[in-house]
Point group: C2
Chain length 266, copies 2
């Protein structure tokens, strides 16, 4: 770019053409954002579009700088933010990679339940059922669906060290998760979020949780092998893909006898 070119606007005209000395920015007002934010947006689009798959490397900073006609430093700042948000992963000497739920390092990325004694437990999953149903009003609202649209509803029990510990009730948009069946899930070893990536092209990028303390009902108590009325954490999680589109509602009941929910505050 030609020295003074702080237009804060990409591809407004041909790169060759020299632009006027003082682009009027108050005229078109608002809507201006820093170049690196625009680059960040373009990278997000490429990620969303699937131009680079989870686990793959994206082009080098110099390549991207050439593609977008900006300096390496500007691309770097865009990538820095995406890396801070855990959408990208930088590895010195190797490149920058699209985040994935497959790697051991980030499995259970969204699961904050931790053993009190710190011993990493062996985990197992038992599917209770998995059906296509019409979305109840509350689920539809959380998933940005119309009332009664098709959703997949699935329930399961997660065990740690062979002790049933989590009772999950999961809701997914039916239009995206076609062909998700109990049989398919049972035959599957990897975590759900990894499966979503691989089988349905849905990358979960962020989640919001709301937590309450509740008493176990009779059915819940039975499934978790505890007495009815036992206090449980009720964790309602909404997970989002690129562009903040909600893609999953998960209501979990956590047994916290030998586990706790950990959180860091800054």
């Amino acid at each position: 770019m030609s020295g003074f070119a702080h237009h804060y606007s990409l591809m407004s005209d041909s790169p060759q053409q020299d632009r006027g000395p003082v682009p009027d920015r108050s005229a078109s007002s608002a809507a201006f954002s820093p170049l690196y934010q625009q680059i960040k947006g373009l990278l997000l689009q490429s990620l969303d579009r699937g131009e680079w798959k989870p686990g793959e490397a994206i082009p080098s900073e110099l390549d991207l700088a050439a593609r977008f006609q900006v300096s390496q430093g500007t691309v770097r700042k865009a990538i820095d933010e995406l890396a801070a948000d855990n959408l990208l992963l930088r590895r010195q000497g190797k490149g920058t990679f699209v985040a994935t739920h497959h790697e051991a390092r980030v499995r259970f990325r969204f699961l904050r339940l931790t053993p009190d004694d710190g011993q990493p437990p062996v985990s197992g999953s038992r599917i209770l059922d998995c059906r296509r149903v019409k979305a109840p009003a509350d689920i539809a609202a959380l998933l940005d669906l119309r009332n009664g649209e098709a959703v997949v509803n699935m329930r399961r029990v997660l065990s740690f060290d062979n002790a049933p510990t989590i009772l999950d009730d999961i809701w997914l948009p039916g239009s995206v998760f076609k062909g998700l069946t109990a049989e398919f899930l049972a035959s599957c070893r990897s975590p759900l979020y990894a499966l979503f990536e691989t089988e349905f092209g849905v990358s979960m990028v962020r989640a919001e949780e709301k937590i309450k303390a509740v008493s176990a009902s009779g059915e819940q108590a039975e499934l978790l092998h505890v007495a009815p009325g036992t206090s449980l954490l009720r964790v309602e999680r909404v997970s989002y893909t690129y562009g903040d589109r909600p893609m999953e509602v998960r209501r979990g009941l956590y047994l916290t006898e030998r586990f706790h929910y950990r959180n860091s505050l800054n």
Copy 2:
């Protein structure tokens, strides 16, 4: 600095003196960290030492660059990290400020309990008691104290919209929080963490929480105006000042009838 001076070491010799062309870094091996990390460390020391008080502005980036004999960009990167950790607060055109628990913006910074309907509630605090005692073993361990050292133990009930909602059991190192009495607390309007800053020079910078679901005991139920056995969130928080020194253990019981604990996952 003289062009090639990537020594990654501050104040190793006088700034005037020109250094050899290739400083041997493999010799003294390890222990090298990037310049901006060293600057970050120095800034942290100054914050800890109280050179700049909470709410005050720190020197400008150019001033700090001059003081540390590095470029503005290096100082900037150090400050960027401290701002990302919420230790500093940047305000364009004004300066960079030391974080404080006094401002409305960041009050309840560590309190994740939120009304289900989003209406910001009016809050009130009732002190139950406040005593100096010998630290029990578990508290001593969490606060890095010797067994039996003096601690301040205080209990209170927080109400939102006049409904008792949080039962807090708070433990503080006695050597730091001298003269903290129930009377003093009762006469005090501001949040505890703000008071810690102003009265005891202790800035809480970070906290870790462990959450379980428990049933209310008789006494607890009475204080929270609920039936014994009601499920509550039990939130154990350890708060840290600069240098990751633990300065508070807070065990809270949260009533989650009309409130929930919110959390964001990335």
